[in-house]
Amino acid sequence: MRIAAGVDVGSTQTKAVLAGANGDGISILARSLIDTGANVRKAAERAFDECCRQAGVTQGDVGFVVGTGYGRYNISFGHTQMTEISCHARGAHFLCPGTRTVIDMGGQDAKAIGVGPSGEVLDFVMNDKCAAGTGRFLANAAEVMGVGLDDIGPLSLRGTRPVKIATVCTVFVESDILSYLSQGKRPEDIMQGVHLAIAKRTLSLARRVNIEPLITMTGGVARNVGMVHALETVLGQKVVVSPDAQFMGAVGAALFSLEKMGESFESSVWREHAVSSRN
């Protein structure tokens, strides 16, 4: 069986996936997730090692590695790089067949991707200059409220009278929340307000691409049930979430790796790509 890897070096967390292909199709062999931290290069290596360990293979067994995410050019062992946009589309197409729209909410950016019938990117928009409405916004809110990341989602679901969050600035939201707390508002209502605010913000951006079903949410924030629910509320449509949502970029990268292995390495674009990335 052919083994290939995808490594998604995100701003916040680094994800690696090993995928294998044999006669009866493609399967995910291992996945690993670590905080990116300051040393991007190291993070990528650690994530990759961890994957190989899980799968019980050596790096030598891995035929091809595609790097993606904002830190993709820092991956020393990658054969080539691809944008997270292509990878998320590819991954979603594979794990959630029929996907036409991908909404990726990561640590520091949010994207919407229009996906074609064969998993190709039709169109996309991203917010990467302002942390408003990203995972970071939520993480901040959670911190101010003294709630763990895993709990904010469930908490917000319990809200009944969501508060109105005026600001979208990740910094100023603190003071909003604090004043609501001291006004005696219930944490679940505040959290629901926060989630809805982000959902609105994200969708106003996402609507620049034609949002069509099937809508798949990817990225770490997809692990937040409250956010998924908020998106569905604002959209008025169902949103699909794969258990591997946060790994979607890495999965897509791994799939591309397999495709690369399936063809000769002479394809000039890939070469040039790999070279240009080093300098």
Binding site: S11, G37, A38, N39, Q108, K129, C130, A131, R136, N140, T167, C169, T170, V171, F172, S175, L178, S179, S182, Q183
Partner: protein, 265 residues
């Protein structure tokens, strides 16, 4: 002798100044100043700040209370509400009596004001949507660089190789800053980098209202010498800082309060 209070209900801190003036145009006596975290109960914060400012005098002696700042309308015991832009201009002009540009950087807002004779506002521009240009940015940075806010100023003063901050977002800048730390960049150089980026943003606003050779810098951030230095170097201007810079709006309010009082009786 009329006793007047100016209260600046800022988004971060509430500041009060109590002043007296025996005759209109006569010499002004500042009885005291007070400062309290704003929180949500504006009256409470104002009360606390006012008590300090009254320096022992009973509150009942006050003839007039002028409220200013973001929370001015929430202050129940006010005689008048005036915007923080008007009061900033008045206060600044009182301290440095000549027309020119005034820069006010507070917790959540940055303002550039062009001031003309008698401290009248001729034009102004403000930024209150994005934290990247505000005192909050520094306050946060100081927090996770584990530097007390009071020391931010001189640290950044001593920066030898300011570390530019490329991100235009206070939040995205944080990961950038963390990378700097872990790659061994000095805290002072990082803080100065932040001050430089703040100075550039302030510069954009100031240019819109018109900036000459000099600039009066007020608001809490003016405490930070590093910021002052950054402004001087990036904008090539002489920066004048009022001592007790974050009380300037409260002072301006008190001054206008006195005028209203005079015109009343």
């Amino acid at each position: 002798m009329p006793l007047v209070a100016g209260i600046d209900c800022g988004s971060g801190f509430t500041k009060a100044v109590v002043a007296a003036q025996d005759s209109p145009g006569g010499e002004l006596r500042i009885l005291g100043r007070g400062r309290a975290r704003s929180g949500i109960n504006v009256d409470q914060a104002a009360e606390d700040a006012l008590i300090q400012a009254l320096a022992g005098n009973p509150k009942s002696d006050l003839n007039y209370i002028a409220a200013t700042g973001f929370g001015r309308y929430s202050l129940s015991f006010r005689d008048i509400a005036i915007t923080e832009i008007t009061t900033a201009a008045r206060g600044a002009y009182f301290l440095f009596p000549q027309p020119g540009a005034v820069l006010d950087i507070g917790s959540q807002t940055t303002r550039a004001i062009a001031v003309k004779e008698q401290g009248r506002v001729s034009s102004f521009k403000s930024n209150d949507k994005c934290a990247a240009g505000s005192g909050m940015f520094i306050a946060r940075a100081a927090k996770y660089l584990e530097v007390p806010l009071e020391h931010v100023g001189e640290l950044s003063m001593n920066a030898a190789h300011p570390q530019p901050i490329s991100s235009i977002c206070a939040v995205l800048a944080e990961s950038e800053i963390i990378n700097h730390v872990s790659s061994g960049v000095g805290v002072d150089d990082i803080l100065r980098g932040i001050h430089d980026s703040l100075a550039d943003r302030a510069g954009a606003l100031l240019k819109r209202v018109g900036l000459q050779k000099e600039l009066t810098f007020i608001g809490g951030v003016a405490h930070q010498q590093g910021m002052v230095r950054a402004l001087e170097q990036r904008l090539h201007v002489k920066v004048k800082v009022a001592e007790d810079c974050e009380y300037v709006c409260a002072l301006g309010a008190a001054l206008l309060g006195l005028r209203r009082l005079a015109s009343r009786n």
